[in-house]
Structure formats: structure tokens, C-alpha cells
């Protein structure tokens, strides 16, 4: 039963929503503010909310000490590359499951997703050894492949959900019109699925960008992305809060901006098929 939304209720919920949002966002805000503090101000007790002495020094030092731009470049290559690679495999896979399903299709989908439930550490040793033997340790190509594989189930699931929305008649019409399989996919399916593919790409880039387990374990210096860059600031000599915050801010800023500008796509992507 629908309840009337009184002004009071609306106000209460608005305040509540802001509080929750602030609670979730606070650590990020705190990191951002700390990155502009001096190391001394960063460990003040009681803590100062706004930096008493604003400084950009942390950022310069982070760049000179561990080359932010190199790590940024690596992150872009790995996140972008793994997303493209995953799509390349997932589009035909999802096509086949959506448009010519067999009795086992649902099971395969569930099984694929279930692999995400296994702790990654369980396969760390075999994968590490395989990477070592193939000379893939600390290489961009190695990380691109592993992240593509890790996120493949999610990419296939999302694309499958989108493809299911496309009337099969239209694909059959293209077959009647003389389109061979690749033309059917390129000229008809993909243009119709652009919104779905865009949000899948976006989500996968974010997942790959934030992925820390494999990127930390399979890289040393050459192919290290931003996750390794942040991790390098929790060193045995102790924590340098201000620099660590500056590094974190630099690492999350690009993906935060990307997410900000594509909010609508992202929300649609995550809730798609949820109500149907």
C-alpha cells in the first residue's frame, strides 16, 4: 500500500540520506583533507578537521619518490586492456547464451558466477607458478589477462542480462536479410546494446582499477599499478599519513571522476534487470 509522503517524512528521509552519505563518504573526505596537511598536522591530537597549514608538498614528494604517472599509466593499461579483452570474449559468449540457450545455459551461468565466490588466495600459488613459467610475472600483459579472466563472469552476466532484453525477432530479421554471424553482431546486436555495453565497461574498469590482490601479488616494480603505488606507502619505517593520503587521493581521483560523470549509466547498469 502506498503511503502519503508528508513534508515531515520527506525532511526526515532527506536528513537521514545525507547522514548516511556523509558517513560513507567521510573516510574519502578525510583522506583528501589529510593529503593537504603537513606530516605533523596529520597526526595532531585532537585531530584538526581542516589542514592548519595547507600544503601541496605531499603530492610533489609522492611523484618524485615513486613516479605517480608511471603507475597511473599501468593502471590505465591494465583496467582498459582487461576490460576490452573481457568484452571480446564475453560478447560472443553472452550472445550464444542469450539467443541460442541450451538446457544447461542457466547452470553454466551460475557456475561461472560461483567461481567468484572462491577466495582468490586459493588459486594464488598455481597461478603464480604458471605466470612464473610463462614469464608473465610483473608484466602488463600478464595482469591484463588475469584481470580479464577474474571479471569475465560478471561481464558475461551483465551482457547476458542486456542481450536478453533485445527481441530475438530483430536478430532473425537480420539473418533473413543476409547478415552472417559477425555482421549480425556488429551491425545489429552491438548498436542496440550500446547502453548495456557502456555500463558493463564502466563497471569493469572500476573493478579492475580497484583490484588489489592480484596486482599486488603478481607485480614488483615494472608493471605495478596504482594499488601497488599506495601499498608502498605503508612501509616498515612507519606510516606517513599525509603522504599516504596524497598517494591515495591521486590513485582514486581518476576513477572517482569517471564514476561521477557516468553516474546515470552506472546506476542503470547495476540495477538493470533487477525489476522485471
Amino acid at each position: 500500500m502506498a503511503r502519503a509522503v508528508t513534508p515531515q517524512r520527506k525532511l526526515t528521509f532527506t536528513i537521514l540520506a545525507w547522514l548516511v552519505a556523509l558517513l560513507i563518504f567521510f573516510p574519502i573526505l578525510w583522506t583528501l583533507l589529510t593529503s593537504f596537511k603537513t606530516e605533523g598536522d596529520a597526526i595532531l591530537f585532537p585531530p584538526a578537521f581542516l589542514p592548519p597549514h595547507w600544503t601541496l608538498e605531499n603530492f610533489f614528494e609522492v611523484q618524485s619518490r615513486s613516479d605517480y604517472f608511471k603507475h597511473f599509466f599501468n593502471s590505465v593499461v591494465i583496467a582498459g586492456g582487461s576490460t576490452l579483452l573481457a568484452l571480446l570474449v564475453a560478447v560472443p559468449g553472452a550472445w550464444s547464451m542469450a539467443f541460442s540457450p541450451t538446457r544447461r545455459t542457466k547452470d553454466i551461468l551460475m557456475w561461472m558466477l560461483s567461481t567468484k565466490m572462491m577466495p582468490a588466495v586459493g588459486v594464488l600459488v598455481p597461478i603464480y607458478l604458471i605466470f612464473k613459467n610463462l614469464g608473465l610475472l610483473d608484466t602488463l600483459s600478464g595482469l591484463t589477462v588475469i584481470l580479464a579472466l577474474i571479471d569475465l563472469p560478471i561481464v558475461i552476466w551483465m551482457l547476458y542480462t542486456y542481450f536478453k532484453e533485445i527481441p530475438v525477432d530483430i536478430l532473425e530479421a537480420s539473418r533473413m536479410d543476409g547478415a552472417v554471424l559477425w555482421k549480425e553482431i556488429v551491425y545489429v546486436l552491438l548498436p542496440m546494446a550500446v547502453p548495456g555495453i557502456a555500463s558493463t565497461m564502466l563497471l569493469n574498469i572500476i573493478l579492475a582499477w580497484n583490484e588489489a590482490f592480484w596486482t599486488l601479488n603478481l607485480t614488483a616494480a615494472k608493471a605495478a599499478p596504482l594499488t601497488a603505488f599506495i601499498a608502498s606507502y605503508s612501509s616498515p619505517e612507519g606510516l606517513f599519513w599525509a603522504k599516504l593520503s596524497a598517494a591515495s587521493t591521486l590513485a582514486i581521483a581518476p576513477i572517482l571522476l569517471l564514476g561521477w560523470f557516468s553516474q546515470k549509466q552506472l546506476v542503470r547498469g547495476l540495477t538493470f534487470g533487477a525489476v522485471k
Binding site: P167, D169, A173, S174, R175, D177, G178, K183, M192
Partner: protein
């Protein structure tokens, strides 16, 4: 050219035999309608011809060549879908040009053919619109345009008019018939609407449970239904089917009388009944009559016939118009 011959065509989905065994010949230039109740396999049969489903057995010959194993693109057929199945991301021009583009034709030639098709179908002013900006009838025309530009050996229509309202349906029916007269290309048309079947077809194929019950011209089917199923299916309102005592009516177990084949009288006749409902259409009058021993009968009289509901009436079937069926439901030749 566009003759289509089906021999021993079978289709099995999992464990369900949808088409047990069908033989059918469609001549070049013929307008053939597959008609039958829903689930009778008529759409499946069309999709088998199109190549959108694989046959489980038998052969499909188009112009003498077995294409049963060929993909749809290689069969040289065009199809118009019930849902229109237009490409929503392309303009009307893009939709009509698509099959030509797939065939790798020259741009100039494509443009000329698209223009010509658009003129035939009154779509010239809509070429730059998207399908979403068109009405149902216009969308249907685009779908037909897309089908005719590639000059196929035959057109396949899968219930193309069932998404349109009654008035538009009548108009599009005429347009498709005119198109057939102009192009003289083979057309295979699936419908559950027997009015479409009767008005458009050169030849009707009546299907039931995946089997062909009868093939013939509309009037052959109407005048001489081969069995009870066809008798009950073709004609609106339905033929009256009356069970008769054994030994009467030349061995017939069931006799059928079309609603218009009764003599209606207030005074005398063979069967007595009472008018239950009278439907006055002006051009005709339909009576639903409870005839005591026989059950409910539908009667049609031309023009206005003033009988009110509740009145008594006598009905006499015209002897030369009675259809007789044996115990298996097969027609008995008189």
C-alpha cells in the same frame, strides 16, 4: 522463380514432435496461406522454410535445390515478422537498405532501390525517421519495404497484421494482395485469421497439430471440407455440426450445415427451435437458436429478418448443401 517443395519435413523440439511429417508443393507465384489454431505448427513450418529453425528430417527445395541445410541468408527468401522486427537504431532508409548492404550492392543502386520501394509503399516522406517515430501501419510498410528491395524468390509473412487494429488490418490486407498482383512473387503467409486466409489466398493449407488437414483454394475448402476439423475451422460463423442417429443420411455420423444454408420459417420446417439471441447487422442477421433435440444452431439470413429473441422458429437445412462426415470425421462424397 520461387517454387517451394517440402518433402517429409519433420521437426522435433526436445521430445515434442511439432511437425510429424509434412509434404507440400507451392508453385511459383502462388499466394499460399497457412492457417490453423494457435500451436498447430504453422509458424514453425514457416520458420523451417525460412531456415530460422533446422529441420529434424526431410527436404526443403526452393526452385529444385534442397536448401534444408542452408542458412537463411542463402535461401533467397524475405520475411515479414509479426513484431515488424525493424532495426530500432537505423532510419527507415537504413532499414530498407540493410539487406542490399548485406548483399554488398553499390551505394547508388541501393539508394535507387530504396527510393523505388519507398514510393511503392508511400514512405518517401519518412525515410529519415526512426521506426520508433512511426505508426503501426507505417512500421509494417517499412518491414514490407525491407522485404521487397532484395527481390526475393518468395516472401514469408508471419502473422504480419495481428498487431494492427481492425481498420488498418483490412487496408494492409488489400495492400499485400495488390503487392502480390504487381510482383507476382510467391508468398507464404501465416495467419490464424481465416478471413485473411479466405480473402488473400490462392491456396490455403489448413494445419492442425502439425499435420496438414487439407490443401485447396478458399472456395474448395469452404464448399468441400475434407473433414470435421476443416469444416469447423473455415467459415465464420462456424458450420453447425449435428450428430445423427446411425444409418440415416447415407451412413453419416455427423452432418454439417453452414449458417446460411437454412430455410427459416415461422410456420413449418424440419427442426423446431427458439431464438436465443438475434444479432441484426443490417446486411445480415445472425440467430443463435436452441433447437430442442439438436442443440444450439447458428443461422444467417441475408438482410433484415425480424425475429426477436424468445420467438419460435422452424429450420430446414438445404438438402444439396448438407456436408456429411463418417465416424472418423472424414467427409463422405455425395
Amino acid at each position: 522463380m520461387g517454387s517451394i517443395v517440402l518433402r517429409n519435413v519433420r521437426k522435433i523440439f526436445g521430445e515434442v514432435e511439432v511437425i510429424p511429417n509434412v509434404d507440400l508443393e507451392i508453385d511459383d507465384g502462388e499466394f499460399v496461406v497457412f492457417v490453423g489454431p494457435s500451436g498447430c505448427g504453422k509458424s514453425t513450418l514457416l520458420r523451417l522454410i525460412a531456415g530460422l529453425e533446422d529441420v529434424s528430417g526431410g527436404s526443403i527445395e526452393i526452385d529444385g535445390v534442397d536448401v534444408a541445410k542452408e542458412p537463411p541468408a542463402k535461401r533467397g527468401l524475405s520475411m515479414v515478422f509479426q513484431s515488424y522486427a525493424l532495426y530500432p537504431h537505423m532510419s527507415v532508409r537504413g532499414n530498407i537498405a540493410f539487406p542490399l548492404k548485406m548483399a554488398g550492392q553499390e551505394k547508388d543502386l541501393i539508394e535507387r532501390k530504396v527510393q523505388k520501394a519507398a514510393e511503392t509503399l508511400n514512405l518517401t516522406n519518412y525515410l529519415d525517421r526512426r521506426p520508433g517515430q512511426l505508426s503501426g501501419g507505417q512500421r509494417q510498410r517499412v518491414a514490407i519495404g525491407r522485404a521487397i528491395v532484395r527481390e526475393p524468390k518468395a516472401f514469408l509473412f508471419d502473422e504480419p497484421l495481428s498487431n494492427l487494429d481492425a481498420a488498418l488490418r483490412g487496408q494492409m490486407r488489400l495492400e499485400i494482395s495488390e503487392l502480390h498482383n504487381t510482383l507476382k512473387t510467391t508468398m507464404v503467409y501465416v495467419t490464424h485469421d481465416q478471413v485473411e486466409a479466405m480473402t488473400m489466398a490462392d491456396k490455403i493449407v489448413v494445419l492442425n497439430a502439425g499435420q496438414i488437414e487439407q490443401v485447396g483454394t478458399p472456395l474448395e475448402l469452404y464448399e468441400h471440407p475434407a473433414n470435421l476439423f476443416v469444416a469447423g475451422f473455415i467459415g465464420s460463423p462456424r458450420m453447425n455440426l449435428v450428430e445423427t442417429p446411425a444409418g440415416m443420411n447415407g451412413g453419416a455420423v455427423t452432418i454439417g450445415v453452414r449458417p446460411e444454408d437454412f430455410e427459416v420459417s415461422r410456420e413449418r420446417g424440419k427442426w423446431k427451435g427458439k431464438v436465443n439471441i438475434a444479432e441484426h447487422l443490417g446486411s445480415d442477421t445472425f440467430f443463435h437458436i436452441d433447437a430442442e433435440a439438436i442443440g444450439r444452431l447458428t443461422v444467417r439470413t441475408p438482410g433484415e429478418f425480424s425475429l426477436r429473441s424468445g420467438e419460435s422458429v422452424w429450420l430446414t437445412p438445404r438438402q444439396d448443401r448438407i456436408h456429411r462426415f463418417d465416424a472418423e470425421g472424414r467427409a463422405i462424397e455425395s
